[in-house]
């Protein structure tokens, strides 16, 4: 028998018929269906035991309490903690997406590394921690031996007052370098304003929850200003679902129709950088009406009326200055706000029961202007809103223990006598601790970098500084750069050595006083998971590094590890007393509470307190609204100073010109408005560019969890291009349509973006979103959009020297 075609078909038919009466087709179909559910790239939730770990979010200075859900050892979800005073259950999109910063390996350094590729290429090779310590300690020891400890510098992005920053500053002191440089933020502007007007080296404390009229000068209340969890909660309280119960009025002063401006009861849009004039215009209306808080002004302020100094010189007071220069008509010319709007707004502010004027610029990441802050604070003083419920409160600083004294060796003492490279604290910058823009400038201007070794902690200045790329250029000139970043950011990519920190979910860290909070608050985050890679808490790394350097540097760090230092500092909280380590939702921290005689603090020994502090992650003092007046203001006059005698003294030591103050005489010591200077030619660069921030992208040096890019509208990021929002009128003037690709050119550079026609943009201003244009990190974040910081040409703010980043002259060129 041969196998013919016919026979073959018969066999096949038999086979097909036969297979129908076997389980094969049915079982196979079922199995294939299940097989498709189990492809290796389909994400699968882990199985195991569920647990919740309470910690504190450290992704911004907001300090929200977070509860992390875990399945066995894997963190699977982050939520806000209802048992936490700051956010009371709320959380922002960045905080929610934080797991991507932990588990996304391509964003992170997985162990200590040294550079093998070109600088900026991001090519590194794994080394051991021992080798890493040997390299860095050897380098520092060699510089110290050659008598050049000042050639070691540290850039520190940790917030002031945190244990990590205290350790890094101590390391620089022990090594003997004055070049410890911090990144400027809004908190620095607040601190400096409080020093010059109130004599208080303290953060600002706005009693928002108890206010019934919030006049916000530029604070991005819905964009992440202050402690976002707290502000969102307050916003919810201000906007009761029942309109009849609504008690708080929100006025937003901002040139762009941001989310806050759009949702406010009133949006006032002055030209960028003219907020001070507007605040003084409102002050003018209130003073002219005679209905300011005369009692407060007379008893607790200095420099309101004209006065005479001890040498017999007559001085004009705040009242005279404001009445003379800031009538609504004059202010209208500066700000573009109609005079009648100012009159109505001033009346509404004055007539409210508990109004407060708050100052900010978008989020907290970048500095503000000192005189603008002073103008807003003067408005609060004029209406008696300082040290009053619902106004600006003056709580005491957090009583953390200072680190113990240590002996410096001769090399360190000699090194510390050398001048700071950034000239912070000198006559030109009397109140400024550090100025990173001057630091970069000094390096860029010298033929050979005066800094040999730079250490960068918790910061990504090559991306976040609004300096037109100056810091990045400086980095390229510094012979040896060490990064402690957990992430593959732009600055770390320029580094020669990486000693990676853990991410915020893997380590203990502290959070000192979330921005703007009205009561003293100390948060403590703890490891939610064990470090998943070979990374170490930066605090431990600093201690170990100091020990590796040895000599007097090592003996300045007697601790075993970071936790010991945190504990030692926290002992101060116990010794000071009066704090709480647990939170009852029924008694919000912002509600005035009368401590009763029998009230117990909730702990009976320091060890007990420490245990509870570690478990709950919080310490706070309940709101203590009206404080006794004597000794509250530590200015030379002992009063709130409309006329700052500290600025007066600074001017006498240097000169108004050296301090870059545009006005002369008495006005220079008071809040005032001066037209910003710019070296750019107005006819070449007819527009100005203002960067703006968003709540759904991470702040500062923290990479955005890639999830968040999905929340962006097509008018902010479309594929690889970000947008520049301009008013349709401005666009028409240059013949631009929606989506046109343009080059935004400033005197220092150019970036390309698409045009978004936005009615909420002020004519002649180009608004560009901050957070795009990364060259570091991974495929999800890299090469998306452009970074407006790269074209910012910033002048220096008077007195402080911080960059005026909100007013860069630009032009638009169609590509």
């Amino acid at each position: 028998m041969k196998l013919t075609r016919r026979n073959f078909i018969a066999t096949v038919v038999g086979g097909v018929a036969g297979i129908q009466v076997t389980p094969l087709p049915w079982k196979f179909t079922d199995d294939v269906a299940i097989w498709t559910q189990n492809w290796p790239w389909v994400p699968v939730p882990p199985t195991g035991e569920f647990s919740e770990v309470s910690s504190v979010c450290n992704l911004c200075p907001g300090g929200c309490g977070i509860s992390v859900r875990k399945v066995d050892n894997r963190a699977v979800k982050i939520e806000g903690r209802p048992d936490y005073p700051v956010n009371a259950g709320g959380i922002c999109p960045v905080g929610m997406g934080g797991l991507q910063l932990l588990y996304n390996e391509s964003l992170r350094f997985t162990g200590p590394m040294k550079r093998v590729g070109m600088r900026g290429s991001g090519e590194f090779q794994n080394i051991s921690w021992d080798d890493a310590f040997r390299i860095i300690a050897g380098r520092i020891s060699a510089l110290r031996k050659s008598g050049r400890p000042e050639a070691i510098a540290a850039v520190d992005g940790n917030r002031e007052g945190t244990t990590a920053s205290a350790l890094i500053e101590r390391l620089m002191q022990a090594v003997g370098s004055p070049n410890y440089v911090r990144l400027p933020s809004l908190s620095d502007t607040y601190r400096m304003g409080n020093i010059v007007m109130e004599g208080r080296d303290a953060p600002v404390a706005y009693d928002l929850e108890n206010s019934d009229f919030v006049l916000s000068f530029g604070c991005g209340l819905l964009e992440g200003w202050g402690a976002p969890g707290r502000v969102m909660n307050a916003w919810g309280m201000w906007h009761d679902a029942n309109p009849a119960k609504r008690k708080t009025h929100i006025v937003q002063v901002e040139s762009r129709a941001s989310n806050t401006a759009s949702k406010a009861d009133l949006w006032v849009a002055p030209r960028p950088g003219t907020d001070a004039a507007l605040a003084l215009g409102l002050a003018h209306v209130i003073i002219r009406s005679g209905k300011y808080d005369a009692g407060f002004v007379a008893e607790h302020t200095f420099g309101f009326e004209d006065w005479q100094s001890t040498d017999g010189r007559p001085h004009s007071g705040f009242k005279t200055l404001v009445l003379k220069n800031y009538s609504p008509e004059q202010v209208s010319k500066i700000t573009g706000v109609r005079p009648d709007v100012m009159v109505k707004l001033a009346a509404a502010f004055r007539l409210a029961k508990a109004p407060v004027a708050i100052y900010g610029k978008g989020k907290n990441d970048l500095n503000g202007s000192l005189y603008e802050f002073m103008a807003v604070q003067s408005l609060n003083a004029l209406t008696g809103r300082i040290n009053r419920p619902g106004g600006v409160l003056l709580p005491d600083p957090i009583p953390l223990n200072p680190l113990p004294y240590f002996e410096r060796d001769d090399i360190a003492s000699q090194g510390l006598k050398k001048p700071r490279l950034d000239r912070g604290g000198t006559q030109e910058y009397p109140f400024t601790q550090s100025l990173i823009s001057n630091f970069a400038d000094a390096i860029n201007r010298s033929p050979k970098s005066p800094i040999d070794t730079l250490m960068v902690f918790s910061a990504n200045p090559a991306f976040t500084l609004p300096d037109g790329g100056a810091f990045k250029n400086a980095l390229a000139k510094i012979p040896f750069v060490v990064s402690f970043s957990p992430y593959r950011d732009e600055t770390a990519n320029m580094a020669d050595l990486i000693l990676p920190d853990c991410t915020y979910l893997e380590k203990m860290d502290d959070m000192v006083w979330p921005v703007g909070l009205q009561y003293p608050f100390y948060g403590l985050s703890k490891p939610v998971v064990k470090p998943i890679y070979d990374t170490r808490n930066c605090g431990d790394t600093v201690i170990e590094m100091a020990k590796a350097i040895g000599e007097s540097v090592g003996s300045a760090f007697p601790w075993e590890g970071f936790e010991d230092v945190v504990k030692e500092r926290a002992k101060g909280l116990y010794d000071a007393g009066g704090g709480r380590v647990s939170f009852d939702r029924a008694a919000p921290a912002w509600k005035p509470q009368n401590p009763k005689a029998g009230d117990k603090p909730g702990y009976n020994s320091f060890d007990d307190m420490w245990k509870k502090l570690m478990a709950g992650g919080l310490w706070y003092r309940p709101l203590d609204q009206a404080r006794e007046w004597p000794w509250l203001f530590k200015t030379p006059s002992g009063q709130f100073e409309f006329y700052s005698q500290l600025i007066d003294q600074a001017i006498q030591r240097a000169s108004a010109k050296d301090l870059r103050i545009a006005v002369r005489d008495d006005a220079a010591c008071m809040a005032h408005y001066a037209t910003p200077t710019s070296t750019a030619n107005r006819s070449d660069y007819p527009l100005s560019m203002m960067p703006y921030e968003m709540i759904n992208l991470a702040s500062g040096w923290i990479p955005s969890p890639p999830f968040l890019y999905k929340t962006l509208p097509d008018t902010q990021l479309l594929k690889e291009t970000s947008f520049a929002a301009v008013n349709p009128k401005t666009a028409a003037k240059y013949g631009l349509k929606q989506g046109d690709l343009v080059a935004v050119q400033s005197p220092v550079g150019e970036v390309q973006a698409r045009i978004d026609l936005f009615g909420g943009a002020m004519p002649d201003i180009v608004y560009m979103p901050v957070g795009f244009g990364h060259t570091g990190y991974d495929e999800f974040l890299k090469g998306k959009g452009v970074n407006p910081n790269a074209i910012v040409q910033a002048e220096q703010d008077p007195v402080t020297g911080y960059p005026v980043w909100w007013n860069t002259r630009v032009k638009l060129v169609k590509v």
């Binding site: 066999t11 036969g18 389980p23």
Partner: protein, 242 residues
């Protein structure tokens, strides 16, 4: 010959002896038909062999458990002291426990073993299995990679406490009687799905005359039992596929 060849329109290729003419209709070439049936049967039988014997044999890979756990030994109070509980269910849940929040721990983690077998240096018995446990897992603090016979896909939500505590269903009703096993059964893993043979059932046909709940663990079996128990409302999709 000539006629038949013409009638079938196809020349016969064999010259064998043929049945007498007239026995079969004219149009049927009987030799060809026999051949056709023959080949049809070859195909049919081959398919049956493939479908019933080869396919099931190829589909499942045989895997041994990492340690041959002896349930019978552990549940024998004469030999092992400390497995508490009066009823069988209580004894099961001594190791296969419910957590405080009511979730079911399933196969115990190493920590459960080390409650008794804590010191790798001093085993409690003399079995080679225990030695294995001590050296490979307890001493190195590695979890034992147990193969789970009843593991369901991730899209299935199953609450043990609802069935055991509220439904009063005994463990062995669904899982079979493990308590008397001296050896763990061989784990047969479906090469396509990655799940155990216990889900589809050991019978490749999937049909049982007197089906026990422990025979199969597919969705239809869940639904069938719910219906029998008068819990038909629990057959709604979202009860299990959350």
């Amino acid at each position: 010959m000539k006629n038949r060849a013409n009638s079938s329109k196809r020349p016969s290729q064999s010259g064998d002896a043929s049945p007498p003419a007239g026995f079969f209709p004219k149009w049927l070439n009987i030799n060809v038909a026999i051949q056709d049936v023959g080949f049809f049967l070859v195909g049919l039988i081959a398919a049956l062999v493939v479908g019933w014997i080869i396919f099931p044999a190829v589909l499942y890979s045989k895997q041994a458990q990492p340690i041959n756990f002896n349930h019978a030994l552990h549940l024998n109070p004469d030999k092992v002291d400390g497995i508490e509980g009066e009823k069988k269910e209580e004894k099961c849940s001594f190791c296969h426990e419910f957590r405080e929040d009511g979730t079911f721990a399933g196969i115990p983690r190493l920590a459960k073993c080390t409650e008794c077998h804590e010191d790798p240096g001093s085993p409690l018995g003399e079995t080679p299995e225990e030695k294995d446990l001590m050296t490979r897992y307890v001493a190195t603090d590695q979890q034992i990679p147990w193969l789970v016979y009843s593991k369901q896909p991730d899209c299935v939500y199953f609450s043990h406490i609802a069935h055991v505590n509220m439904g009063k269903i005994a463990c062995d009703t669904c899982h079979g009687d493990f308590a008397g096993n001296e050896k763990l059964p061989l784990y047969l893993e479906n090469r396509l799905t990655g799940y155990s043979i216990n889900i589809w059932g050991k019978r490749i046909s999937g049909f049982y005359w007197n089906k026990k709940p422990s025979d199969r663990m597919k969705m239809d079996d869940c639904a069938e039992c719910h219906t029998q128990m008068g819990q038909e409302q629990n057959n709604a999709c979202f009860v299990c596929h959350k």
